[in-house]
Symmetry: C2
Subunit: 169 residues, 2 copies
Amino acid sequence: MAPPPTPPVVAPLVKLVVRVLTFICLLIGLIILTTNTASIFINFAEFKIRFQDVKAYRYMLATIVIGIAYTLMQTALTVYEATRGNRIGGQGFLLFDFYGDKFISLLLATGTGAGFGVTVDLKDQYGAITSGYDKFFDKGYAVSSMLLIAVLFSAVSSIFSSLSLPKRA
Amino acid sequence: MAPPPTPPVVAPLVKLVVRVLTFICLLIGLIILTTNTASIFINFAEFKIRFQDVKAYRYMLATIVIGIAYTLMQTALTVYEATRGNRIGGQGFLLFDFYGDKFISLLLATGTGAGFGVTVDLKDQYGAITSGYDKFFDKGYAVSSMLLIAVLFSAVSSIFSSLSLPKRA
């Protein structure tokens, strides 16, 4: 006789809430980052800075976009699990979640590190010349902070998927 | 009757090798980072830059030092496990390894992100004025790269400690 299916270690609803919170943080970060520009005027000449001008911000954008795509996919799968009571792909997909969550949390961690790292030093550099770009870099801090919170939530997802690994023989 | 002890999922020797490789990468990074200075001369005036002048490099140093302390401790525990055949603290410490490895791999990931992020943009900025600091920032890349390799090894340790989690009831 086949053994009865074991109940999931973490309730699908809890997993879903954590995924949605990750998604919201990444989305807010994406909006602040992609709308971030600043201008200063020196002798009627306009000097404009956009987020694309800072290479580390472009990298941060890449990690956010990858994070959003992955989190959306996992959210859809978790909704399916919560409504149907079982996971698409069954036990085999638990390993996919395990490695995927680990990779995405590490990727987002490099993104937030890059964001904070470049902002603190560039703000110092530009701040010595003009205070006109201060708001631009403050928004850089805001994006990095949203990404840091997303890292924490994705780490929680990673803990959940580790605890949900199939029992070893 | 007590059940016979289960053999470890990952051989202690394999775990030990990964810990030692993590340690070596961090140590090389530490040496390159802390000895990194550069000087340029403009009209007999010396302009010196040291790693402490870049705040993101100071953060990178902090993550490397914490990573070395943790990895040394884990190396000692793994040597004990490899020679005595059982882990200090027994099964209870498996959870400590699990959360510790997850945290350290994420911390090191933010460190390498900060290192690469600040280096790419500061090298651009200074490079527009002088090429005298190019070597300084190239060493910044070298440290960030060693830290990135350390992240990969610590992620492997984190996978091992996840797979070694006690079976769920």
